[in-house]
């Protein structure tokens, strides 16, 4: 069996004196869609930032395709085929829409360019209309589309989305969820952080719930939705 795409083991992360991740382990298999849930401040974003090499763990290891990547620079981890759309989207305000896309475009690890500029503009026609606008002239929804389109242009094997639908109008949210399904059908693994439980459980193969930097639940989405008590305690629904 091929090794998991990412395999994080026994991760401990501190911010100063506070122990944010407490021996957390997580894996994502190629093509798998994993939903990552939990209330605010439970360590979801920290886990992702640690996977991307933006936060250094005090202990634990991060493997990509079975290779140790702990402590490696972020751009090397990204180049292993991991695309990350951060909370707040990370759209570059001083660049045009087209420039935001162009600087990211590259072939995937297999050398193929399955996602190129025409394909992402077909996916998000709005971006084509606004191609010469600067990043700071876009609406929140347009920024989110740009951030996802830009991530896809790196031809990733894993797409990590942190709160991609937060603060967006319902119609735009639907469009983002449609895109996530499309990405999943294209065979790209996804790690989706979101608070919309019914959407996450509808799209994910497996769901992970974090509580205070530890895993409180891991399993198929049906097992989570079948347990109202668990949902109420850890997700507040």
């Amino acid at each position: 069996m091929s090794p998991p795409l990412i395999d994080v083991r026994d991760l401990h992360v501190y911010y100063g004196a506070s122990h944010v991740l407490r021996g957390l382990s997580l894996h994502v298999a190629p093509g798998e869609t994993v939903g990552l849930m939990g209330r605010n401040g439970m360590g979801k974003s920290t886990l992702i930032r640690t996977i991307m090499g933006l936060v250094r763990p005090r202990a634990g290891e991060i493997n990509v395709d079975g290779r140790p990547m702990t402590g490696r620079p972020t751009f090397e981890i990204a180049r292993r085929g991991i695309a990350y759309v951060p909370e707040g989207r990370g759209v570059l305000a001083s660049l045009t829409v087209l420039e935001n896309l162009e600087i990211a475009a590259r072939p995937g690890l297999d050398g193929a360019r399955a996602w190129d500029l025409p394909r992402v503009l077909e996916l998000f026609p709005r971006l084509g209309q606004r191609r010469d606008n600067r990043g700071n002239q876009l609406s929140g929804g347009e920024q989110q589309m740009l951030a996802i389109a830009r991530a896809l242009l790196t031809n990733p094997r894993l797409l990590i989305l942190d709160e991609a639908t937060e603060g967006l109008a319902p119609l735009i949210r639907d469009e983002i969820w449609r895109t996530i399904r499309l990405v999943r059908e294209a065979g790209i693994a996804t790690l989706v952080v979101d608070k919309t439980v019914h959407e996450v459980t509808a799209v994910a193969d497996r769901v992970v719930v974090l509580v205070k930097g530890e895993m409180a639940f891991e399993g198929p989405p049906e097992a989570l939705t079948a347990d109202p008590d668990l949902m109420h305690r850890h997700l507040g629904v």
Binding site: T74, A78, P86, L92, I103
Partner: protein, 297 residues
């Protein structure tokens, strides 16, 4: 009047070559390079040594461009990349040490005398502009070369993919890493380009100002004024601020003293004319604290 206008333009454009590198390096790497004026001095001494050895200034230009880029790449690779994440005090110590090293090197190679550098023979004449006024052909050539370099720099930063990565690195270095782009390469190229621009400015200035110890110091201070007025990290800000400073400084020094003896106000104006650019900086910062083209906080 016409001569002062052209002098101001030419001075401002040379200032732009120096301050564009300063502002780019600060924008992308977060480092304030105090030794940037020393790079200008190195350029002037390269012009002096090359024209003494070969009898012409022309060879100094390619030597300045290529040597400057190589020197910049070497400095970034061996020193500056290791200081990019350290405290400002460490960066000040490093870049101040480089000033001292550059002066010591200058003393060993060329001594401490003033040297003049001859204007290239084919440009050593005056161009008649109007019936009663003519202007140095070499100064016209400097204006032209600076404008070409400024346009090339704009095109590179604003119109190419690499330029987009440079702007992205200045705005959000973390996102550049996340997109899988190697920021170290960006830093190396930006530092090399900034260094080459400062060295070339020194080469071009050498026949106009002669070469002398510490000639980079006063230019460094004016370049900081340009960078601050233009807005830290902004290339177009540096361009307009450099022209503004070039004109204000030239006119201030040319006409300020003529107010002498025209009453108390005239005496005050004459006394302040030498510091006109600093007064301008204070006025701009009171009006727009982040500079003319700076990002709004």
């Amino acid at each position: 009047m016409m001569a002062q206008l052209l002098n101001g333009l030419q001075y401002g454009l040379l200032l732009f070559l120096v301050s564009s590198g300063l502002t780019l390096i600060f924008g992308v790497m977060g480092i304030i390079n105090l030794a940037h004026g020393s790079l200008f001095m190195i350029g002037a001494y390269v012009a002096f040594l090359v024209s003494k050895a070969t009898g012409t200034l022309w060879l100094a230009l390619p030597v300045g461009v290529l040597g400057g880029a190589a020197l910049g790449a070497l400095l970034e690779w061996t020193l500056f990349r290791h200081f990019a994440k350290r405290e400002h005090l460490d960066q000040v110590m490093l870049t101040f040490a480089l000033i001292l090293l550059a002066e010591e090197l200058r003393w060993v190679v060329a001594g401490s005398d003033f040297h003049s550098v001859p204007i290239p023979a084919i440009l050593d004449f005056s161009v008649p502009v109007t019936s009663g006024f003519s202007y140095s052909a070499y100064r016209f050539a400097v204006i032209a070369i600076c404008l070409v370099l400024a346009l090339a720099l704009f095109w590179w930063i604003e119109r190419t993919r690499f330029g987009a990565v440079v702007r992205a690195s200045a705005e959000n270095p973390e996102m550049v890493d996340v997109l899988g782009l190697d920021a170290r390469r960006v830093h190396l190229v930006v530092f090399a380009a900034g260094t080459a621009l400062a060295v070339v400015a020194g080469v071009l200035a050498a026949p106009l100002t002669s070469v002398y110890p510490g000639m980079g110091d006063s230019l460094l201070i004016i370049s900081f004024v340009v960078v601050v007025i233009g807005g830290l990290g902004s290339i177009s800000g540096a361009f307009w601020a450099a022209l503004l400073i070039g004109l204000v400084d030239t006119f201030g020094k040319a006409y300020g003293p003529s107010f002498q003896g025209t009453g108390a106000l005239g005496t005050l104006l004459a006394a302040l004319s030498g510091s006109s650019v600093y007064l301008l900086m204070i006025a701009v910062l009171l009006w727009r604290p982040t500079g003319l083209f700076g990002q709004r906080p």
